[in-house]
Point group: C2
Chain length 169, copies 2
């Protein structure tokens, strides 16, 4: 399976993240726009996920990004809701509001509508915020709405696994 | 399909809710514990859902119910997180935080762990809060974890449809 494969097994990824998080005692939160709750749904399919997953915010409307995650309106106005800057602010907001060690955010254009020349359907930013700072990734998925959501959810859990895994600093 | 059937088609239910909400101009938010984001995921599978769905909170941990939805700690301590009282407070909190016309909440014990004699696996409370007040329903699903989540998500969308549908008062 390659990154971005819509048939990637979210269940397997969620099990891998859970094993790492429970072993290290790290807690996780989510901030989802275009995935609409799919990341949280995938994590909570695994029995025992309440041992590390505290919850998340589905910030679908821009106003919800502001009110529930504290994303500044001027950041959205300047960079757009689908941007690396807003992805970072969403992850930081979820980490602060929910009080987790790590938080992952997803903001993108799942389609079929909403794309522009500069920001096409499939464009997605994923950020993780943790004690050591933040990381952000940019993807452009080529799939339909539902498969773009699954590809984004898989990439979000993969980034959490990458950040949470013990390894050389 | 009967209520509680784990094979109920969430896609069809989400399409029905979206048609009703867009026709009436009503906005919707979610507050999910045991469904873990599945209700929001199902609603956002439908293109155009951003026209009425503002977002939601996945309040998996009790602390997230308090911090992100404003559910009083003493309400959880007195009645338990899986109770009609907490379901109502979660829906009211999501409606207030997200600023929607309607909000639905789900709190239950998806299993396989977490059940007691008084509160068995499958026990689930679903509440809708709207301009005319709130409604709450109690279910005990007989399925496994994943199917209990799907049954709860279907019942949540069905309750939203029931409350949002025009009809005799």
């Amino acid at each position: 399976m390659t990154e971005g494969d819509p048939e990637v097994d979210l269940h397997d990824l969620a099990e891998r993240l859970q094993a790492i998080a429970l072993a290290s005692g790290m807690t996780v939160a989510t901030a989802e726009s275009c995935t609409g709750g799919l990341v949280a749904h995938a994590l909570t399919e695994i029995a025992g996920s309440s041992g590390y997953f505290l919850g998340g915010v589905v910030a679908y409307a821009d106003a919800t990004k502001q009110h529930a995650l504290g994303v500044p309106a001027e950041l959205i106005a300047r960079h757009g809701a689908v941007s690396a800057q807003v992805a970072r602010a969403m992850a930081a907001g979820a980490r602060r509001v929910i009080g987790s060690d790590l938080a992952v955010s997803v903001t993108g254009i799942a389609g079929p509508g909403g794309g522009t020349a500069a920001k096409p359907v499939g464009l997605t930013y994923i950020a993780v915020e943790g004690p050591a700072g933040s990381e952000v990734r940019r993807f452009v998925w080529p799939h339909d709405r539902s498969a773009n959501k699954r590809a984004s959810a898989a990439a979000a859990i993969e980034l959490l696994i990458s950040v949470a895994s013990p390894g050389p600093a």
